[in-house]
Symmetry: C4
Subunit: 283 residues, 4 copies
Amino acid sequence: MNNASKKHWKSKLHDIIYEADTPTGKLFDVVLFIAIIASILLVMLESVNSIDKNYHNFLNISEWVITILFTIEYIARIITVKKPIKYITSFYGVIDLLSTIPKYISLIFGGVHALAALRALRLLRIFRILKLARYLGASNNLVTALKASRAKISVFLFAVIIVAIILGTIMYLVEGEENGFTNIPKSVYWCIVTLTTVGFGDIAPQTPLGQFIASLVMILGYGIIAVPTGIVSAEYTAQNKKDKSSHPSENVSLNSQSCENCLAENHKDKSGYCYNCGEKLYD
Amino acid sequence: MNNASKKHWKSKLHDIIYEADTPTGKLFDVVLFIAIIASILLVMLESVNSIDKNYHNFLNISEWVITILFTIEYIARIITVKKPIKYITSFYGVIDLLSTIPKYISLIFGGVHALAALRALRLLRIFRILKLARYLGASNNLVTALKASRAKISVFLFAVIIVAIILGTIMYLVEGEENGFTNIPKSVYWCIVTLTTVGFGDIAPQTPLGQFIASLVMILGYGIIAVPTGIVSAEYTAQNKKDKSSHPSENVSLNSQSCENCLAENHKDKSGYCYNCGEKLYD
Amino acid sequence: MNNASKKHWKSKLHDIIYEADTPTGKLFDVVLFIAIIASILLVMLESVNSIDKNYHNFLNISEWVITILFTIEYIARIITVKKPIKYITSFYGVIDLLSTIPKYISLIFGGVHALAALRALRLLRIFRILKLARYLGASNNLVTALKASRAKISVFLFAVIIVAIILGTIMYLVEGEENGFTNIPKSVYWCIVTLTTVGFGDIAPQTPLGQFIASLVMILGYGIIAVPTGIVSAEYTAQNKKDKSSHPSENVSLNSQSCENCLAENHKDKSGYCYNCGEKLYD
Amino acid sequence: MNNASKKHWKSKLHDIIYEADTPTGKLFDVVLFIAIIASILLVMLESVNSIDKNYHNFLNISEWVITILFTIEYIARIITVKKPIKYITSFYGVIDLLSTIPKYISLIFGGVHALAALRALRLLRIFRILKLARYLGASNNLVTALKASRAKISVFLFAVIIVAIILGTIMYLVEGEENGFTNIPKSVYWCIVTLTTVGFGDIAPQTPLGQFIASLVMILGYGIIAVPTGIVSAEYTAQNKKDKSSHPSENVSLNSQSCENCLAENHKDKSGYCYNCGEKLYD
């Protein structure tokens, strides 16, 4: 850290990895995006028996390529941050590690099936892509509207669950074990299946009274689906209006930089220092 | 009632049980909340044969603990209200009693299956939790919007039922008994299953004409799901606007006190006397 | 018609049958409402084999009571209108006749099954009840909003059908006859079942490619359900606003009178003469 | 092209084929509409074995009539456009050719099954009908609202797919191959079926834990269906408002002419020259 040129080199690498505003930064993000998608496809394809049998070698080699790529990325991330411990113990740090090591472990212990489960953790890397989605800029209002209506949707879901418990118990008493409603938890499960208009049909009421109550449940579900929609619609309309009537000065555009020191994100454009720890930000 | 200190003691207990503004009152509500959730879980778990077989003793003891807790609560509620008869004959009073006694009755008559049904009444205690949900304050607008659109939603549901009856009869005539549409009520049930887009699949049209009519039913259902949503959205947007434009003085915050004398609730903050019966309210 | 007192008698009966503003008129409507509901319940119950077997006599007698009631109503309606031919050939006139005669015909030919189908026409009388629903006054805005968005919803449904035809054909080519997609119409039927999120499950894709396309169909269906909802919401919000900003003089209340001469309805309150044919209206 | 009267004759035919403002042009469009609907019905009916067996000759002759009609139309379109190559290589040109030739090819090679697939391309001609739908004028706002919310809906669908992949993998690990979740792609397919509330029921969770997670998936799906609806509602409301407040001069009505030279469409009413290539437009 005492070497200015080394710092500059590290800082450059930091910009490439943690930011998306420079051409090389964008290229890195796109390559990472493709690697994550490819790694997810690999996990999915390996689970298909017929494909795994025929293309085992190809899948194995691809898996190694991806693993090495992720390893390089992991090490690069550790080197370029000022406080590596903070990154390693962060949410993304743990995911990055856990999604990289299963292949190395399989080298030692062989292809244990339980490790496949661990490999699935790689899926969580997908959230990095969501970070990319933010740059599309389209979802800002949407997220704000969802956050504003979070409390209301919680109360609504709570009510839905209570209704499901009460109606599920009634259906258990009405239909009984002989018609598939073997216990109350299963009845509640059926009730949620019906209230949400999913309707698998693996369990279905057989008695006339059960079918009558089921009809009420369905019409109720049809009616209350209007509630979350109404909430989000209203909130979103309000958001849209606020957006249009707000002063231009309030519309601060955030960039994709993240602080080398504390990993804080969402810095305002042209910020010189981190709003969180005061560390100098390099453009 | 002629003893001042005894009144004070009772009044304190009353505050703990019926109100949620003091620390002890909040603690009581939280304990009650947990007890109700636990009691519901017990009823659900007991209905699962495999669990009931293995953990019968544990479930039995837990059941007794809950029952005794509810008994104490029931007696405390009777003691602290001025007009116990009014509480006992109220909605919550009857539920509290009915959800407590089944275990005692089972002592005398043994574990009769029909009593399990009675025990399920305990689920209605869940509405006490809904009372807690009110304090979240999030659902006020929602309830107002739903109340305002109640009449419209009723007319809509009435129309849905008429459509279901007419189309159900047509499907009965088209498909007939050999394809599962054994009678008109069952056909109407199928029609509701389809209109609400639940689609169990336990009954499904087999003839080409039946499938054609079913397609129309489904597209109709798809189209009319827009109606309740539109109603609630519009009502909720209107509610939101009214909320913002209303004078602050109109936004009266209601507290969780309930009158010792007449059990009336929704008193305004800092009210000195019950708006219903004029009884003094203790803070 | 040349006898003034007879005319007065007829006019009174006319008011009772065709209007709902007087106490006797309201009573008549309520009785008619109950009779229609009862007649529909009878048709439904007769279709249930087990009920028909056990309560055949009761159902038969009830059927006769309803039939005689409807006969009296039919004759009374003919007598009290000025132009009986116009009533007899009108929509309600034909329904009233068709829903009354099946029982008489069954007297001559015995209980032919095909007549049960005819008896089902009685269900169309339910539209008279819808006429009653109008007096609830709640659905006015709703109907206006639906009418305003009718053209848009038609275009939308047209697009849905085209999508269903194209995707249905693709699924027929992909899945083929061995997986239940026996022909294109059936594939289109499946596609409508899926697009509208009903999902019976009587036909379900088996091949990976079929399941992939099915996923696209489902997500498409999930996405486009937003369209009719958005249309109705917007239209309804607009309707609500117009309602509030309109001058009180524009809110003309319509009464339930119908002209004795031309059967025209929707007269303004306190109209002296029919807006359609100029006939005098009696209060 | 150097002969004025020939040009006039061609120009007339061009107006009939490419425009819908003159009586003959409208007649041509209606005939074409009927022919396309008939040709689609033919493809659908031929796929039904029982119908194909009994009415093979009728279907075959109808097919030839349609094919000859489409051939004449195809040639007429080539003759009347100034740059035939441009038409032939355009989207509609390719579809017109591909939907016409399968019958001719079947003459040479016999009724090869693979050709049936090619014949299905005729379905794409249906988009010509959509062009007609534009004249209904009802869908303009709708299309604008959908375009405006396209980006948001994309982000939303992207999020839905990520959720489906994560939850699908979890369900694969929880339920396993013995309960129908044979591999991750199939689990993801199930997850999409459930999230979109379609719920075929061909695969359904059997373990209590699986049913619990499925319940969460369903309630999640129920909750997030509100999102696209909210987006379109808000956008559509905004569109409606803009529409009403816009100056009348901005509402330019577009006619159905298309330029003879470059095939550009959406000319303003009373335009004298093509806005794209400057070619004279004949009324």
